[in-house]
């Protein structure tokens, strides 16, 4: 009887392991873990292979304008990236204090779920209408010069995203940053955004509960 019980526990454990490895990020990794300011984040994928998207990201036909399809390259010199590059960026550049993953959407969207480790900087706060934009740029590492301009040599690398290929908010934010003098080489664009991220079942962080 004891042996049977042990066997059952073992079988369950093995089955559990098998399930955990069923939906990996790539062949050789099942999760991405990184630490930002002493706080640990983990990204993995939903393991239920029957899971399908419902709600906002299952929609196909939003009104355009304003929800129009975005180009692959949004600005000269700004790289467009995919999910693996987002995770690499978080693991190396962001956790090394040299970069930030920026969610360009409005605070309500950010609060409903974002990529773990992302910071909410709504696109319009980077536009010239915000009289305090320079304060944000300085927080991102720009150095104020004596003549009132900003030096971006030491500024952080920024990776921006919004709701996905049908969302113009991160392209607008990138445009505003370039116009403010941010070097295009320090910017990148995750075009897939929350749409592609959710489609792949990758971890979504709810900022209000997880910090």
């Amino acid at each position: 009887m004891k042996a049977l019980g042990l066997a059952m526990v073992l079988t369950t454990a093995i089955a559990g392991m098998a399930v955990a490895q069923d939906v990996r990020i790539t062949t050789f990794r099942d999760s991405s873990t990184f630490v930002l300011n002493g706080k640990s984040f983990t990204i993995d994928r939903i393991q239920d292979r029957d899971n399908v998207l419902t709600g906002e990201f299952a929609r196909t036909s939003r009104q355009c304008p304003p929800f129009c399809i975005q180009p692959m390259i949004v600005a000269e010199g700004v790289a467009t990236v995919g999910e693996l590059e987002v995770m690499d960026f978080l693991e190396t550049t962001a956790s090394g204090g040299r970069g930030l993953l920026i969610d360009s959407r409005l605070p309500e969207w950010f609060a409903s779920g974002t990529i773990p480790g992302a910071v909410n900087v709504p696109f319009m706060t980077l536009e010239a209408e915000n009289r305090f934009r320079d304060d944000i740029l300085v927080a991102l590492g720009a150095q104020p010069q004596e003549d009132g301009s900003l030096d971006f040599a030491e500024a952080m690398d920024l990776m921006l995203f919004c709701n996905g290929p049908w969302c113009g908010q991160s392209p607008r934010a990138i445009e505003a940053l370039v116009e403010a003098g941010y070097p295009a080489g320090k910017l990148s664009y995750y075009r897939g955004g929350m749409q592609a991220w959710s489609q792949l079942g990758l971890s979504v962080m709810i900022p209000s509960t997880e910090g």
């Binding site: 480790g117 305090f132 304060d135 927080a139």
Partner: protein, 278 residues
């Protein structure tokens, strides 16, 4: 297809840029065109009328001095500004306070800096900012003179540290703090149930004021005109004729052809002053 999309995108960008920067707007052409255009336009309105002497003098071209930096304007209306200052001073005002764009921006920006700090661990702080509201409230609390407040606000506006409602910008590019202070008094009177009388403007003692009888098809109406004097703001003109700043809109609407924005009035410009009960 991509080219077409890119072309449209570029076109949209150019249009947006034109809207935002308004390279052909009157504010930049103003110095060049000067008061010459005023003469033409006002004559076009009343072709048969002889131009009376005071107006003719006022229309003389101004010496082309280098223009000082114009104050930056905000969408905050004079009344919201007044209501918030009065609220800060402990008055019960009649209108609920509308959100102030600048104060919202400060709040949003401070929130963003906090979230950046939470991820990077590097301390960043929003430098303390003053707004027209805090500037005026502090000075009033200190019991400063009108002249002091005027100098203080103008210095802050000239260096771009505060934005002001459009109706406070004068014809010579200064900030008319008198009109704000006057509006504070008017609002305080209204808030305590008082009435603000419409002033009777005497054309013989007020420079720039003209009263004419204009013959229309059916009847004759009395029309008032005002030639903008140096240092006038649209708000001050509204107070002069109507007793209240918030009625500036009547004058602005009646002069849309020659006045593109309430902060762009020019010395020598001739404005139609519509009758209030019309």
């Amino acid at each position: 297809m991509i080219r077409t999309v890119l072309a449209f995108f570029a076109f949209a960008l150019v249009v947006c840029a034109l809207i935002v920067f308004r390279p052909f707007s009157e504010s930049q052409d103003m110095a060049a065109t000067g008061s010459a255009s005023d003469v033409e336009v006002t004559r076009a309105i009343t072709p048969a009328e002889p131009v009376v002497a005071p107006a003719a003098q006022a229309i003389q071209p101004q010496p082309q001095a280098p223009r000082p930096r114009r104050p930056e304007t905000s969408d905050v209306s004079m009344d919201d500004m007044t209501a918030s200052v009065l609220a800060d001073l402990g008055f019960e005002t009649e209108t609920p306070e509308a959100p102030n764009v600048e104060e919202q921006q400060i709040e949003t920006t401070a929130g963003i800096l906090a979230s950046i700090e939470s991820v990077t661990g590097q301390q960043v702080e929003l430098a303390p900012r003053q707004t027209l509201r805090t500037l005026v409230v502090t000075a009033l609390r200190e019991g400063q003179s009108d002249d002091y407040i005027d100098a203080l606000v103008n210095e802050a506006a000239a260096t771009g540290r505060v934005t002001v409602p459009e109706v406070m910008v004068t014809s010579d590019g200064r900030v008319d703090t008198a009109v704000l202070l006057e509006n504070l008094v008017t609002h305080a009177i209204i808030a305590s149930g008082g009435n603000v009388p419409v002033p009777d403007v005497d054309p013989t003692t007020n420079p720039g004021v003209e009263v004419r009888v204009v013959q229309r098809a059916q009847d004759a109406v009395q029309a008032r005109f005002y030639t903008v004097q140096t240092g006038d703001s649209l708000g001050a003109i509204a107070v002069k004729f109507y007793g209240r700043v918030d009625l500036f809109d009547r004058i602005f609407e009646a002069n849309r052809q020659t006045l593109s924005s309430p902060d762009l009035i020019r010395t020598g410009q001739r404005l139609v002053i519509p009758a209030l009960d019309a």
